[in-house]
């Protein structure tokens, strides 16, 4: 009886098919003109770059023809220019069209890889910072935190005294801090017990100063101060907020930097090349994702469903992967698309400054940087087209990002 009623309802379209949240977003996305235009532009650039890379042979090392130096765009072959060059030729007589199409492979690759680097590193850091800001550190987490502190201080002390075995001693002391410390509790700040602090300070003093006495009394004094400090630090009830604070302060430092100069300095350190440019651009982008993910995670961890999941005994791993991460995805997806757009501009900027692709490898920014000196002699085509390629592909990603934002956050639709 009931079943037949259900079938009847389905027939009459009164009960629709279940729609998932993502399915809904997708429907909104493809019904928006901006997003469709963006997808079309992105598809053209990605397809042409990929197809050219795999099916249109090009060897930049042998591409050279001085007889065709700096010729304006020609669509019909004539006596002076016997071949078709829709975008003209550059200072070495190379076909600009061919180089722009092949340059797309490199430029887009830099964009994708560097955004990937920023997302993976920044996302994980932001996830940890946001999660542990409101959750208590587990035993393992605390062990890693304190062990890290021990490792860092132990390394300095060991270097000063020239005694390597101090490092494991410091780490052991820190681990002891976990087991002899206070039970990690959520929400409540555990009290500081003076007796325990004193004990750890004494232990730290002992393991660092005594071996250093073999070197000189001054070294022993310096190491002793370091050891006592470490001991005191690991005896304190350090919790998740320390992890979050350390991560976010490091992000603040990276953000405070003038971004272009940081990227340039990193490339100068690593040496020029496309892969190095990817690392530099990716590194500079890390704090953006860390901050975005952290704030998204912070708001999600306050939600009732997270509390409910914890109440039924869901572990941290499952809580993160099943309940928190999926609910932080939509701002990240939007930022990813926009991030791709700016990474492509960055790649072009580094290439323009001569810090990206190594010539004669084609890359949009590098092609521009190669040819802009000939602008004053009227060779506009070698500058116009690669720049137009950068602008259009970036425009495509921005359009797609706008569309995605409207699709993923229906509350913004007006």
């Amino acid at each position: 009886m009931l079943e037949s009623r259900e079938a009847e309802l389905k027939e009459s379209n009164m009960v629709g098919k279940g729609r998932s949240l993502w399915g809904d977003a997708w429907r909104r996305l493809i019904s928006s003109n901006t997003a469709r235009l963006g997808m079309a532009i992105v598809a053209i650039f990605v397809l042409s770059a990929v197809l050219a890379h795999f099916f249109w042979e090009y060897n930049p090392r042998t591409d050279l023809d001085y007889s065709l130096k700096l010729k304006p765009p020609t669509l019909i072959p004539n006596e002076e220019v016997p071949s078709v060059h829709p975008f003209g030729t550059d200072k070495l007589g190379r076909d600009v069209f061919r180089r722009v199409v092949h340059g797309g492979w490199n430029s887009l690759r830099v964009g994708f890889v560097s955004v990937g680097i920023s997302l993976v590193v920044g996302g994980v850091l932001g996830l940890l910072a946001g999660f542990y800001e409101s959750m208590a550190l587990g035993r393992v987490g605390q062990g890693i935190l304190l062990g890290g502190i021990g490792l860092a201080f132990g390394a300095v002390s060991a270097w000063l005294a020239g005694q390597v075995f101090q490092v494991p001693l410091f780490v052991l002391l820190s681990i002891a801090g976990v087991f002899y410390g206070t039970e990690p509790t959520r929400g409540r700040v555990p009290e500081v017990k003076p007796g325990r602090v004193l004990m750890f300070v004494a232990a730290g003093l002992l393991i660092s100063a005594v071996p250093a006495l073999l070197v000189s009394p001054y070294t022993a004094a310096a190491c002793g101060i370091l050891g006592a400090l470490t001991g005191g630090l690991v005896s304190l009830p350090l919790g998740g907020s320390v992890v979050s604070n350390v991560i976010m302060r490091i992000m603040d430092i990276i953000l405070a930097f003038p971004a272009y100069l940081l990227a340039i300095a990193i490339v100068a350190f690593l040496g020029p090349g496309l892969n190095k440019a990817m690392i530099a651009i990716g590194f500079v982008g890390i704090p953006v994702y860390a901050r975005l993910v952290r704030s998204a995670v912070l708001s999600v961890t306050q939600a009732d469903y997270v509390l409910a999941a914890q109440a039924v005994g869901v572990g941290y791993g499952r809580l993160l992967l099943r309940h928190i991460v999926p609910n932080t995805l939509s701002p990240v997806i939007v930022q990813l698309t926009m991030g791709l757009a700016s990474a492509i501009i960055w790649a072009g900027a580094l290439g323009f400054l001569g810090l990206g692709a190594i010539p004669p490898e084609p890359e949009w920014g590098a092609i521009l940087g190669d040819s802009y000196r000939f602008l004053t002699s009227g060779a506009w085509w070698a500058v116009l087209f690669p720049g137009l390629a950068i602008m259009l592909s970036v425009l495509g990603f921005n359009l797609l990002g706008d569309g995605l934002r409207d699709a993923l956050d229906p509350s913004l639709t007006r």
Partner: protein
């Protein structure tokens, strides 16, 4: 409020120390010895040593382990990094390794050049971006709105180095209306007071130089202003649209207030926080993006200077230049945060 400012400034100290440490480390990790870079590959070893001694490059980076063993506490701390911090504390920026010029002297002309360009660009961006955003929001879905938002989207997607080159091609090469680079024509002379050419020529009443300076500023300003203008216009529009849906706007309309009053007195005031935030962020990226614009327009500012110094391993220039830009960025952020309380009385800083 005062307490908040003091707190904020104090909390900047670790950030700034972190920045100095990062620049310092990064520079030392870059392969290449500045002394060798300065004297050339085939310089005599003792000359290289002399230069290294002179610039303190022979000292350890952070702490001197051997000195501690000898019990020499002063020498223990006498390292490159701590010497650098000590000089900073005395506001002594040192001198360029390559050119032996005091960095402070060079900054006196270069820093105002960058600031002049960045400020003018920001002013242009604000003066155009905000009105465009307001009009777009007020006349939503009109032709004007569509045109300006498409324009803004193109502006956001613009690689400024390419835009700069296209401007040079059009206005300097083809039309020959405007100069392609530099701050002043060769024949021009302005008595330097602030080292910002526009301000100086205004102060000295030198109209001829003023016109020339503005002509030189036109192209780089357009290039630099495009992205912030587009971003400000977009942010103004979306923020205004949000506010225009509020009940008090309907009330204001119902009271029969004129539309300009509703838009500016009621809506804009409440829509201003996100706009000012984005202005702050964009000011920082203007400062940081100076490298590209200054390269294209041969603008004698700090961006290009630091860029060349990074490639030439001129440590002192990179250290001071980066630190200065960082301080400006951090200061802008502080001003933006403080302006929240000024714009929105509900926000209090304790």
């Amino acid at each position: 409020m005062t307490r908040y400012i003091i707190q904020r400034v104090l909390s900047l100290i670790p950030t700034i120390l972190g920045v100095t440490l990062t620049v310092f480390l990064l520079l030392r990790l870059i392969p290449g010895d500045p002394a060798v870079a300065m004297l050339g590959e085939h310089a005599a070893q003792e000359n290289v040593e002399r230069i290294r001694e002179q610039f303190g490059l022979n000292r350890p980076l952070f702490l001197d382990r051997e000195a501690l063993e000898q019990g020499d506490v002063a020498a223990f701390f006498d390292s490159q990094y701590i010497r650098y911090l000590g000089r900073l504390a005395r506001l002594d920026l040192g001198s360029s390794i390559h050119r032996r010029v005091a960095i402070a002297d060079e900054l006196r002309t270069r820093f105002p050049a960058t600031i002049e360009l960045a400020m003018l660009s920001m002013i242009v961006a604000i003066l155009i971006g905000i009105p465009v955003g307001i009009v777009s929001a007020a006349r939503r879905a009109s032709l004007l709105d569509s045109i300006s938002m498409v324009g803004a989207l193109i502006g956001v997607s613009m690689p400024i180095f390419w835009l700069g080159l296209m401007e040079i091609m059009l206005f300097a090469v083809i039309l020959q209306w405007l100069p392609s680079g530099g701050r002043l024509g060769h024949a021009m002379e302005v008595r330097s007071i602030t080292n910002m050419v526009v301000v100086d020529s205004l102060l000295t009443g030198n109209t001829e130089a003023l016109v020339d300076a503005l002509k030189h500023l036109a192209l780089p300003t357009i290039a630099l202003a495009t992205i912030p203008m587009a971003i400000i216009a977009r942010m103004t529009r979306s923020s205004m649209l949000e506010v225009l849906r509020a009940d008090y706007i309907r009330t204001a309309h119902a009271k029969g207030l004129r539309e300009t009053v509703v838009l500016f007195r009621h809506a804009l005031k409440n829509a201003f926080l996100p706009i000012i935030t984005i202005i702050g962020i964009q000011t920082s990226s203007l400062m940081a993006g100076a490298v590209l614009t200054e390269t294209i327009f041969s603008w004698p500012g700090i961006g290009k200077w630091v860029y060349d110094a990074i490639l030439g391993r001129d440590y002192p220039i990179v250290q001071s230049g980066t630190l200065l830009i960082t301080i400006v960025i951090v200061a802008v952020n502080l001003v933006v945060d403080l302006s929240y309380a000024f714009l929105d009385p509900r926000i209090h800083y304790e």
